[in-house]
């Protein structure tokens, strides 16, 4: 039997007490490329952040290879959304990629020759070697995204979470990223990718996780990525669920 890389158990996330994700429950086997798909505001980013412990959970728990997240941090690679940082910040592309190795280094130890070699290798993998010395603002959108990917690669993780790595990138970058995702899978890594473009889901991913405030369906693309499930995911909001969320957030007794 193959290893369970990630288990999410009855995860509920509330924002100001209003539930935005209800009872998400699934487990993923090692070595899969998983697309996280759903409409805007479905909670895709929230799910990733909740798994990574960046957003508090209202209930439920997350296990990485059978252990809580806090003990398995070194197994995790993370690619946040591109808008989440200040691109004017005085760091070079290489500095950013080096940050991927910080978690392993621990307090006060500087990245040494070994870490720099890793960073250079990761830069080469995403084709940014020639841009290593540039300030990050001086990259195109696609290159910025690749720099973030290289940083995640430098984490040398086992499970990767990528928040919209394909957003706003050119065709060449999209192809390069896809190439990279596949090579990660070849190496036995598990990769979760928040994805927007329904056209490419079938081609890109092994498994798909359809999300809209709750887990609509999860499984292999062939079985799950069906017209019917998509309709359930995108077919309007669940007004009842919305109203229940509203009622819970107001915390006022029913009349």
């Amino acid at each position: 039997m193959s290893n369970i890389a990630l288990e999410v158990h009855d995860l509920t996330v509330a924002y100001r007490r209003r539930p935005v994700l209800w009872n998400v429950d699934f487990q993923t086997t090692e070595g899969r490329l998983v697309g996280v798909v759903g409409p805007n505001g479905a909670g895709k980013t929230t799910l990733i952040k909740a798994i990574l412990g960046l957003t508090p959970l209202a209930s439920g728990h997350v296990e990485i290879y059978g252990q809580p997240y806090a003990q398995q941090r070194q197994l995790i690679g993370y690619v946040p959304q591109r808008e989440s940082v200040d691109w004017e910040f005085p760091v070079t592309v290489r500095d950013v990629v080096l940050m991927g190795t910080y978690g392993r280094l621990g307090w006060f130890r500087r990245p040494g020759a070994a870490e720099k070699a890793i960073a250079d290798r990761c830069l080469a993998q995403v084709g940014l070697t020639d841009f290593a010395g540039r300030q990050i603002r001086q990259l195109s959108g696609g290159q910025q995204q690749r720099a973030f990917l290289a940083r995640a690669l430098a984490q040398e993780a086992t499970i990767y979470f990528m928040d919209e790595p394909f957003a706003g990138v050119d065709a060449a970058t999209e192809a390069a990223i896809l190439e990279l995702l596949r090579s990660l899978r070849e190496a036995g890594k598990t990769v979760f990718v928040v994805h927007h473009d329904l056209q490419t889901v079938r081609e890109y991913f092994d498994e798909v996780l359809l999300l809209n405030m709750r887990l609509v369906a999860y499984g292999s693309v062939r079985e799950v990525f069906t017209q019917q499930n998509l309709q359930r995911t995108y077919g309007g909001r669940l007004t009842l669920l919305d109203q229940a969320a509203e009622a819970v957030s107001l915390r006022e007794p029913p009349t």
């Binding site: 070079t92 500095d95 940050m99």
Partner: protein, 446 residues
């Protein structure tokens, strides 16, 4: 004793030197630690801490009963950190936004400080005159002990930043990623704020409330113009901070040294200019210089780049006009009269003359009397320019769906910036799509 034997003027200079040294140490420390506030986009946190520390100073004075600077500094530090805590509590637990919370804490704490201060004054505890210096600074009161203390603070800041450089860089740049790696970003944040508070309170008696806040902002803002690497930014910020502070103090002492310089500077800034404002204005000048003259990112460099671009655009236009006038008999390279060209450069005859002289200098044209004709090198060059222009136009029409009569303007701006490889790529792409008209093929470089 020895001081007096050296003589009064040297004595004055040695005091000025000590004061400048102290100010320089403070400036360097403020420059380094302030950079982390500026880069995190909360530059005014120093301003908040400086204001919020006043009640601490006054209470420490009330309790210690003397102007013991250590007690006052500890009081200031505690009050400043309390202010930071209040802002954190207000933004966390109420709907008040951070900017309002900062302003609120700043003004209310300072108001409380003023209340205690006037209480002290009105109840004649004596010595309270010294507390006034917390408002505007009294750098002349700097003593050897203060210099030592400033050196220790600078040392602490430098050691801390050097040791935790990696952590600070990560937590300042991408807090969320840092948290996903398990770094205690909140603790790092408070450590930075604590260091800022420390520098602020040791700087307070020297520069005063508002101006110590400025010392945290200027160095990084200026250094940011010079470099894109954090370590370099920090070093430059330290240097600029030290320069501004000691330079400001020295400038403030000019009127006292007499002679023509002294008189002139006394006329300019008064006979006893306050050092705090002098430091800030020196910093402002350094910042202004950085903003204007930094390579690559300075305003001057930008102006030069723009002028260069405009120049290239003008030259390309001239080459294209000449080419188009020559085009009917390209191989013969007939002469073109200046009056024909003047049509394309109406109202810009001076520019036309200058550009003609320039391309003649480049040996791209030959002039005979009133007419000019391409040399073969010139035709070659013009061909490249026209080719880029036309291919870009075609690309816009076919791929960007811009109507044909609108492309000329759009093509004008960008075509001058197209790298040759891209032109070749566009050309192949258009050719494979069968969209390259035969007449365009004829202007391949000869």
């Amino acid at each position: 004793m020895t001081m007096y034997m050296i003589g009064p003027s040297l004595f004055a200079i040695s005091i000025a030197g000590k004061v400048a040294l102290g100010a320089g140490l403070l400036g360097a420390a403020a420059g380094v630690i302030g950079s982390f506030a500026v880069l995190k986009r909360r530059s005014l946190v120093g301003d908040m801490i400086a204001h919020a520390s006043l009640p601490g100073v006054c209470l420490a004075f009330l309790i210690a009963g003397s102007r013991d600077s250590d007690a006052l500094a500890i009081g200031a530090l505690l009050a400043g950190m309390l202010g930071v805590g209040c802002v954190a509590v207000i933004t966390r637990w109420t709907r008040t936004k951070d900017d309002a919370a900062v302003s609120l804490v700043l003004s209310v704490f300072f108001g409380a400080g003023v209340v205690i201060l006037t209480y002290l004054q009105n109840h004649g505890t004596g010595g309270q005159a010294g507390l006034d210096s917390y408002l505007f600074g009294e750098i002349a009161s700097l003593q050897s002990r203060d210099v030592r203390r400033l050196a220790i603070v600078l040392g602490l800041v430098l050691i801390g930043v050097t040791l935790a450089f990696k952590e600070l860089r990560l937590a300042t740049f991408d807090e969320e990623f840092a948290r996903s790696q398990g770094w205690p970003t909140l603790a790092i944040d408070f450590a930075v704020l604590g260091a800022i508070a420390l520098v602020t309170v040791v700087g307070l008696p020297l520069c005063g409330v508002v101006l110590v806040a400025a010392m945290l902002i200027y160095p990084c803002a200026a250094a940011r113009c010079w470099s894109n690497k954090l370590a370099v930014v920090l070093v430059i910020a330290a240097v600029i901070g030290a320069l501004a502070a000691s330079g400001g103090v020295l400038l403030a002492s000019f009127p006292a040294i007499g002679g023509p310089i002294g008189e002139w500077s006394a006329w300019l800034v008064g006979s006893t200019p306050p050092p705090g404002p002098m430091i800030v204005l020196t910093g402002a000048v350094l910042f202004g210089l950085s903003l204007c003259f930094a390579p690559e990112q300075g305003l001057l460099a930008k102006l030069i780049r723009d002028a260069n671009l405009r120049h290239i655009i003008g030259r390309d236009h001239l080459l294209r006009s000449l080419y188009e006038l020559t085009e009917p008999q390209l191989a013969a390279r007939p002469g073109v009269t200046l009056s024909q060209l003047a049509d394309d450069f109406r109202g810009r005859s001076a520019q036309l003359r200058r550009l003609l002289a320039e391309i003649e200098n480049e040996k791209w044209i030959e002039r005979s009397g009133d007419s000019v004709r391409f040399t073969s090198a010139g035709l070659n060059r013009a061909t490249q320019v026209v080719r880029a222009h036309r291919i870009w136009e075609l690309y816009l029409v076919h791929y960007v769906d811009i109507p044909a009569d609108h492309v000329d303007g759009g093509a004008d701006d960008l075509e001058h910036l197209l790298p040759p490889e891209l032109v070749t790529r566009l050309e192949t792409e258009l050719a494979t799509a069968g969209r390259l008209p035969p007449n365009l093929k004829s202007i391949h470089p000869l």
